[in-house]
């Protein structure tokens, strides 16, 4: 499966990728973006590929374009329709969670997290997709 990880921290992108692999997901390719704008471009470039993305994980608090703006723009442009999006962030306040869900996020994981928590939140979404 292919995944897109969006986080302004290169360290955190690596940590998230490692957690996905520890969760037992067989990742054939991991696209990376350091903000929402880069992520949108990655989705536009990926549109129509025969082997589409299976999962998007995104931080919220990022420079240039944050994770909530990314979700809303993705929805408006109808990019990666039906692909589950999970927010991984230190921002766990209720208004942000509700805004993320209303903008199309299906899951929410707060940093710090364990690989088990990632597995518990992500695997059911992949099965349901």
């Amino acid at each position: 499966m292919r995944a897109l990880i969006i986080d302004d921290s290169a360290v955190m992108r690596k940590v998230i990728e490692r957690a996905l692999r520890q969760a037992g997901l067989e990742l054939t390719e991991v696209l990376q973006a350091s903000n929402g704008e880069e992520a949108l471009q990655a989705l536009r470039d990926d549109h129509g590929k025969s082997n589409p993305l299976s999962l998007i994980l995104s931080d919220i608090n990022m420079p240039v374009m944050d994770g909530l703006q990314f979700l809303e723009q993705r929805r408006d442009e109808k990019l990666a329709v039906g692909i589950p999006v999970v927010m991984i962030t230190t921002e766990g306040s209720e208004p942000l969670v509700l805004r993320a869900i209303s903008a199309g996020a299906q899951g929410y994981i707060c940093k710090p997290f364990t690989a088990e928590q990632v597995k518990a939140r992500v695997v059911p979404l992949l099965r349901a997709a």
């Binding site: 360290v11 608090n61 230190t90 208004p95 940093k111 710090p112």
Partner: protein, 156 residues
């Protein structure tokens, strides 16, 4: 923190910080990390990360460490060996560590303080000088994991 009718006791602020640090180290680095008594002077070439709180709480969380401690931290976070102290990933790791600790501390606050926003981390190797003096109330704490020492300042 902003003045309220019942300000949060000093020990409660520090307890929340200790718990946030412990959780980040156990969950993300798979290591235990404990508070130390007294201050430890980390001056030479230290890496400083800062997260700002705005809104219901106005203040900042500053984390500082020596390049050697920061390199060990990056290795533990990434699960890899031999990060060099000058590696940009080391600065990134310290920024994320500060981010997660500040976020964890914030998540333990009660309404309405928990509704404050946190900034993205700013990381510098130019010292704490430019960052000091902005806020009047400070809580300083030093921590150790496997003999590696770093400091955290919460200021409001």
């Amino acid at each position: 923190m902003q003045a309220t009718e019942n300000p949060t006791p000093h020990h409660e602020i520090v307890n929340r910080l200790d718990t946030a640090v412990s959780e980040v180290f156990e969950m993300m680095l798979e290591r235990s990390c404990d508070p130390m008594d007294g201050d430890v002077n980390i001056v030479d070439g230290r890496i400083v990360a800062r997260i700002q709180f705005t809104g219901a709480v106005s203040g900042e969380c500053i984390l500082y460490a020596s390049p050697a401690t920061a390199a060990v931290t990056a290795e533990a976070l990434l699960g890899t060996a031999s990060s060099e102290p000058a590696d940009p990933m080391v600065d990134d790791a310290i920024g994320e560590l500060c981010n997660m600790i500040a976020g964890g501390w914030k998540s333990k606050l009660e309404h309405p303080q928990a509704g404050c926003l946190i900034s993205v981390p700013a990381v510098t190797r130019e010292g704490l000088g430019a960052l000091e003096g902005k806020f009047g109330t400070k809580f300083s704490r030093t921590y150790s994991f496997q003999g590696n020492v770093f400091g955290i300042v919460l200021a409001f």
